[in-house]
Symmetry: C2
Subunit: 460 residues, 2 copies
Amino acid sequence: MPKMFPFQAQSCICMPLTESMQPRIIKTSSSMISSSIPLKREVCITNHFVKTVSCTKVSRNANLEKLQNGYLFPEIEIRQFEYLQKHPDAKLISLGIGDTTQPIPHVVTSAMAQHSQALSTAEGYTGYGAEQGNKALRNAIAETFYKDLGVKGTEIFVSDGAQCDIARLQMLLGSNVTVAVQDPSFPAYIDTSVIMGQAGDFQSDTGRYEKIVYMKCTPSGHFFPDLSTIPRTDVIFFCSPNNPTGHAASREQLKQLVEFASKNGSIIVCDSAYATYISDDSPRSIYEIPGAREVAIEISSFSKFAGFTGVRLGWTIVPEELLFSNGFPVIKDFNRIVCTCFSGASNIAQAGGLACLSSEGFMALRRVIAFYKENAEILAETFSSLGLKVYGGKNAPYIWVHFPGRRSWDVFSEILEKTHIITVPGIGFGPGGDGFIRVSSFGRRKCVLEASRRLRNLFK
Amino acid sequence: MPKMFPFQAQSCICMPLTESMQPRIIKTSSSMISSSIPLKREVCITNHFVKTVSCTKVSRNANLEKLQNGYLFPEIEIRQFEYLQKHPDAKLISLGIGDTTQPIPHVVTSAMAQHSQALSTAEGYTGYGAEQGNKALRNAIAETFYKDLGVKGTEIFVSDGAQCDIARLQMLLGSNVTVAVQDPSFPAYIDTSVIMGQAGDFQSDTGRYEKIVYMKCTPSGHFFPDLSTIPRTDVIFFCSPNNPTGHAASREQLKQLVEFASKNGSIIVCDSAYATYISDDSPRSIYEIPGAREVAIEISSFSKFAGFTGVRLGWTIVPEELLFSNGFPVIKDFNRIVCTCFSGASNIAQAGGLACLSSEGFMALRRVIAFYKENAEILAETFSSLGLKVYGGKNAPYIWVHFPGRRSWDVFSEILEKTHIITVPGIGFGPGGDGFIRVSSFGRRKCVLEASRRLRNLFK
């Protein structure tokens, strides 16, 4: 029996990483429940130690209670951590979270360094920027990525990243909208829907939340939903090039999607964070499709385009023509959300973003993207050589590997055990991802080659 | 009658800054309302031009519909802009938004520049950081600001600023909590409450939202609410040193507040963004008060402490002991929100934050704060010399000037007209602020002296 120091025990309440360490309430002091004194509860910290804690009378947000487990990537980190605890000598290679690894081109980091240094001078110092982002950067984004598509700088809201913008868009939409997502899809769409109260309960038999429409995207359907079977929703989250499948929607597919949204009066939230990885003539923006300005918001990011995962910079486009049912422009409400819930992206990151869009910066970044896509080719060939069916990688930094008849977490664990490689279990992206794993092509070349070697030799 | 180019007219839909420019719906094509074709509406763009637009069928978020006008500071910018349109030669001095103006100490900008440059090297490049912030920075914040207060690094969540954290805390709390705010108070608390659906309708006669409890803070009450008259709410937003009144709550006041929250089982969200401006022995953190760890969250920021308004860095503390009524730790849900709706503060800003907390950085920043407080003294003396009653400025960068019997916006306009100085009308912080203006002490010395001169000579 371990020695019980109250302080140690108390510290267990902190942020237990495993569910088993969570404090378990064993007794509520009932005489106090409706009194003016706060609730006292006895909490079982370990099997051996009980302490009394004070609870507030604030109910836990029921929406957060609905959320399943941890958010996917922290969950993988926990499993990685636990594996390393057991096997401290394992030389792990991560092809997991999709974290950029290549240095940022010097022209970009120099611009950020110069901007930083200037902040110590009277001439170079600036305080708050516009919440919507610097005008020069907004215009440069419009010019670089949306030339001839009619997107104005004033429709572009610079942000600290696409994930943060998804949350802000959810605040804009509120709890009463109905939502459809691709299945599989990036988990932030669903998780923020649940947090906002748009979803019903999680159904463990189907792996789905009630009230959310899951649009199944399979290899046989060319990773596009059969829209004839999809009910109308207010909002459709759509990611192209897709995370996790690596599939870039074709022009014909996006046309179908825009027509579907137009017919239904829905708003598409199109996540094009990987658009710069497109090699063929698939659309790089939903605004290449006629009619999209009346139905679509687009979110995008410097993270994977410029290695800014840690620097934090992204943007969201809300076209002027996008209107709520009462005719009110969505852009006005999004502007209000951005001004109230955000204070702008870091000015240093914005200076870096502008340098990314200079001709020198842009060319250097294209070389980095080409490098990651060579990685993708190496990994795709590796899994193919094992007799597995591989998707994606051509227009995206992810490959999507099929293990028919198997569960994703089992495959994840087997690969980890045999090769010490971290992947992402497909089911983490929704029930439609089960049987798949996502492999990221972000990595140093020697790691990718070593991963390839291990997979070819050990994973059989 | 102006010539009507459809494109020009269309561009008016954009983001009209004035209400009069908003498109006005004049006719809805009723035959289409319940069909599968999106709503078509005729919109009156100007008095002379009508066009047909397509609306989606997505209802505007009713919470956003409740929000009054623009967010305060963009509203002031609009008035400033309009004034400059009319008086292009006016040499405006802004003592308004509270935007830092002094350069950031070199030791801090150098750290950011070095971090930026290192991102272009294989050794120095890093991708995603922990959503909660770098461990070293979390520990340094704990050590610098909360020594001996029992705050652990793991309880500190580094963010891109206090305003963004307020929005994330609101997502954590959800729409079913009841909320109290100081009146006057920083508008983001109320506005994010309204956005989340915690508030009822705005009542134009009282200037208050239904369901929100306004805790009046007046000079005669030492800027602290009479808690005996305040009903229980789930959440109490409390800002000390206060924005806008500049009052730092005394130890006795904070003790009363913590006792009030403990008795009621409420959660205090304490905004201490200006704590480094405290000169006397007022508490710099709510955790100086016994019992606060069981009832209080604290948010804070590098913005005003380090001139990081544009760099973006802040933090929020959620103590392990803070529990929902069911015993669930609030920190676990906040961690989930941060991991799902945020991707961490910019790594460059975090490197700067760490340098701020070095002994050299901290000393340099103390000098900047002393400088702003000298400004406050100059401005306080100026308004006093005009026979006005002046509050704040001693423990905060704001002074709060009383104009008994007058409306704030009138005073704002009069000062602007006579002296070309931008202030903030007190009513922008709630009905309790009417009759006051907030004057910011952020500014270059020569501007502050010129403002003082103009006020003494012109504002009579």
